[in-house]
Symmetry: C2
Subunit: 153 residues, 2 copies
Amino acid sequence: MTTGTEAPEAINHPFLRELVTQFRALDAHGAWDRKSDAQLLEPFIVDKAKRREIPIMGDPDPEMLERLELFYNALGLAIEKRCGHMASPIMAMHHEGFGRVVLTTGRLVVVSRHLRDVHRFGFDSLDALAREGERMIDAAVALIDRYPEVARL
Amino acid sequence: MTTGTEAPEAINHPFLRELVTQFRALDAHGAWDRKSDAQLLEPFIVDKAKRREIPIMGDPDPEMLERLELFYNALGLAIEKRCGHMASPIMAMHHEGFGRVVLTTGRLVVVSRHLRDVHRFGFDSLDALAREGERMIDAAVALIDRYPEVARL
């Protein structure tokens, strides 16, 4: 099914809907009103060629860090929509572009990632972005189902 | 037993030993070699009178944020010494002095704190500092004992 080009239906994936909502909420002055949802998510698409062009020396772009936060915020909201349990992100980044992020539900760590070279954070396609979100949401919800008591602490 | 003055034995408390070790490790140039352990921990002592003098407007002192990190790092190390499970801190602070810190062991959140007004972070006495550390370590170890499977994930 996936051929490397955008599956037009990817933009309707619940995780991408959440990301779009997060982006639009930031846009207090309506600067992006004329952008389509796919255009809005365009900066998340970093394919191999684009990746090679981004140096990993120096500090990552502040907009890149903002996108990273949006990604994990959207993940938390998508997890909550899926299972009714809030998942709060905490991200601690060194300014050079490495760090760690966790999402917690009660006393359960439902997502845990060590981050590095976030300068190049991105996905091959909208479809790949949706699949990765889906995978992380599935894993988080499976953990909550397995340890409901810890998730409620 | 506690009268508000320093119990001289407080400095030998395992949590305070961990804090002292953390401080000395930072001191690459030996600037604090002539300071006693109690003098080193002196900045953690913020009694009521001192607290009132610290404004909570503006950004907290960077040295205060460093002490906050030392506190939670030492807590993680003390938890590991007590039960053999590493507890890794993640702290995300807004520059104005509020934020959140968690310590995680496997997929278990063993310490979780919302922080505010960290400008005034401190304790009435060394004794109070040791007691608070002890209390948090006890609670973390109790959680690990209760959910060993989650702590090993």
